[in-house]
């Protein structure tokens, strides 16, 4: 009975997703339709869609899990996720839209006039996108296993199937509507249970014990700052977020969209934070930290109400996996379609199939660890590859194609080597070990240095002034 209701909630979310996608995409025919929704998405709508795809497994399940696991250290993650959009607003939103690109690799072509830079940026997007889709698949596996007891491969299979069914036919036009709907679905799926649980807890238990046993927060401040650098500049480079900015009508509306996104994302993160506070204050911890959100309703309440709330949370969690995965699928399909399949509508569809199937298959042969922690590493990789190139390309006249390639390669190597060393246990327990495991503070400066040196050695396009003028004038 219990698991049946939860499975029904998940099925309902999947069905609604596909229906909305088909409805939104039925008149999606041209290249501009499938890649950038004909650049006609209005700010409120677009902001909901960006919020919808950004709030992933790491946000929906991971934030509460990290607060339960490491207390204060975990609280920095949602702050970093939200502040990332502030940096996006400050440095990227309006100029990127004015570049007129369809995908990040197009931006490199427009700005650097350099095929190799476009290729490097395209590969960086593919790498980051596929790595980012993996935790979504793992989150789906975890949710299905926790609520229904089904084997681990069922979740990734469902997510892959729904993503393909909703992205491939209508592209960006259909998925914009899906994701806008899913932001509000996710917000409701977390806000209603949170309100009910906190109200119930506050009225039934009375004042909380003064000396609560808090989870240990042991992260040195320098590692916290490194994490924040990764999250803040990683958000700014995330392909599935950037791809949405091409759908704004103009630069000023891109900025307005971002401000609304910041409000929506900040409002959302208060809720998993509140659930984390509640879990710590009440001592109701799930069987693993990441499943705490899913299990809180049944741990704190009983009767049919708890089942209904648990079903709501499970449905919302699935909306999170699907919308982030389909956003990534769109971004990757844009890059694959334009770089390898000639930039046509058909090329987009083939790209989307490839983009969804690879991580679905990878998820079956890898295993999940703490959701938000893995996401932290991927943000660090994004912050040290895509973000420096984007920032330098938009703001620095001298930045050149070879400079961009050098920045991407150096950032990826340093970030990968640090994470690898930390995984092998180099310097565990020391400040150095902490920085190796959270390497943005090392890898981002290395990437920037390589980019600057290579740019000075090989000048960029002669009309860089005119290109920058186009990016920055209203």
């Amino acid at each position: 009975m219990n698991s049946l209701a939860l499975a029904a909630a998940i099925g309902l979310v999947c069905a609604v997703t596909i229906l909305v996608a088909l409805r939104g995409g039925h008149r999606s025919r041209t290249t501009a339709d499938v890649y950038v929704a004909a650049r006609s998405v209005r700010p409120w709508f677009n902001a909901s869609a960006i919020g919808g795809e950004y709030l992933s497994a790491a946000s929906f399940l991971g934030v509460t899990g990290l607060i339960v696991l490491s207390g204060r250290d975990g609280l920095w993650y949602p702050v970093g996720y939200a502040a990332g959009f502030l940096m996006l607003l400050l440095f990227v939103a309006a100029p990127l839209r004015r570049s007129g690109a369809y995908a990040l690799s197009d931006f490199a072509l427009v700005r650097f006039r350099d095929e190799r830079a476009a290729k490097a940026l395209g590969y960086a997007v593919l790498g980051v996108g596929w790595l980012y889709m993996l935790p979504q698949m793992h989150g789906a596996a975890l949710t299905v296993r926790t609520v229904t007891g089904a084997p681990g491969w069922v979740g990734p299979l469902i997510v892959t199937a729904v993503v393909i069914a909703s992205v491939v036919p209508g592209g960006m036009r259909s998925i914009t509507l899906v994701q806008a709907v899913q932001y509000w679905l996710k917000l409701a799926a977390l806000a209603v249970p949170a309100a009910a649980l906190i109200f119930g807890f506050a009225t039934s238990r009375g004042p909380v014990a003064v000396e609560l046993a808090l989870p240990a927060s042991t992260q040195p401040p320098l590692v916290t700052v490194s994490l924040l650098v990764a999250l803040v500049f990683g958000t700014l480079g995330l392909p599935h977020v950037l791809v949405r900015f091409y759908t704004n009508p103009d630069g000023a509306s891109a900025r307005r969209t971002t401000v609304i996104v910041i409000c929506l994302v900040c409002a959302f993160y208060l809720i998993p934070t509140a659930l984390g506070f509640l879990a710590v204050a009440s001592g109701a911890i799930g069987s693993t930290p990441d499943t705490t959100v899913l299990q809180l309703p049944t741990l704190l309440l009983d009767g049919p109400l708890s089942v209904a709330l648990a079903a709501l949370v499970a449905g919302g969690a699935f909306a999170a996996f699907i919308s982030t995965s389909s956003g990534l699928c769109i971004a990757l399909a844009g890059v694959i379609g334009r770089r390898f399949f000639g930039g046509t509508v058909d090329g987009f569809r083939r790209g989307a199939l490839l983009a969804a199937l690879v991580p679905g298959a990878l998820a079956l042969v890898t295993s999940s660890t703490a959701l938000a922690g893995v996401i932290g590493s991927i943000f660090a990789l994004t912050a040290s590859t895509i973000a420096p190139v984007l920032l330098a390309g938009i703001w620095w006249r001298r930045c050149s194609g070879p400079g961009a390639v050098a920045g991407i390669v150096t950032g990826a190597l340093v970030c990968g080597a640090s994470l690898g060393a930390a995984a092998l246990g180099v310097g565990t327990g020391t400040l150095w070990g902490g920085l190796l495991g959270q390497p943005a503070l090392l890898s981002v400066p290395c990437a920037i240095a390589a980019l600057v040196i290579a740019s000075y050695r090989s000048p960029g396009p002669a009309d860089a002034d005119a290109i920058l003028a186009r990016l920055h004038t209203p």
Partner: protein, 157 residues
């Protein structure tokens, strides 16, 4: 032209003509010096020395000097960058101070509203209004810079 086609068409060589149009090559230098000072003053940027102007002209070639429009655009870009860096630096400074304070100041740990440490409430709740405030402030300021640019470059052309 449809918005969708813009990306690649505009980036082509045809752009030079549009950008060079506002001032004819002959009267360009005189117009530039005065107009540039005006737009830099309006945008709050330090007025550049004449040496810089002439070196940029040499680099771009004698006749097809950077158009007035491009000079305004460069001034606007610098003003926008200064604004963005200021807001970002202020925000990151607040966050870094909070990270150090939360790890080392006992008061933030021992004062516990509703059972949870003060540092939790500061990081988990109080930072979000700060993010939203910074965003609104920046949006208004950068729009103002663009309006001034449009006014000044419109007058000069």
């Amino acid at each position: 032209m449809s918005a969708a086609g813009q990306g690649h068409d505009d980036a082509g060589p045809g752009q030079g003509g549009r950008l060079a149009s506002p001032a004819s090559p002959g009267d360009a230098p005189a117009t530039h010096a005065g107009a540039l000072a005006a737009v830099e003053a309006a945008l709050g940027a330090p007025a550049p020395g004449r040496t810089r102007l002439s070196s940029e002209e040499r680099r771009e070639g004698a006749e097809e000097v950077l158009s007035a429009e491009n000079y305004y655009a460069a001034a606007l870009r610098r003003a926008q960058l200064r604004l963005s860096v200021t807001v970002a630096a202020a925000f990151l400074a607040v966050v870094s101070v909070l990270a150090v304070a939360a790890a080392s100041w006992d008061l933030l740990e021992s004062v516990r509203p509703a059972g949870l440490p003060l540092s939790w409430w500061l990081i988990g709740v109080a930072l979000y209004p700060l993010v939203i405030g910074a965003a609104l402030l920046y949006q208004a300021a950068s729009l103002r810079l663009e309006r001034r640019y449009q006014r000044v470059s419109g007058e000069a052309a």
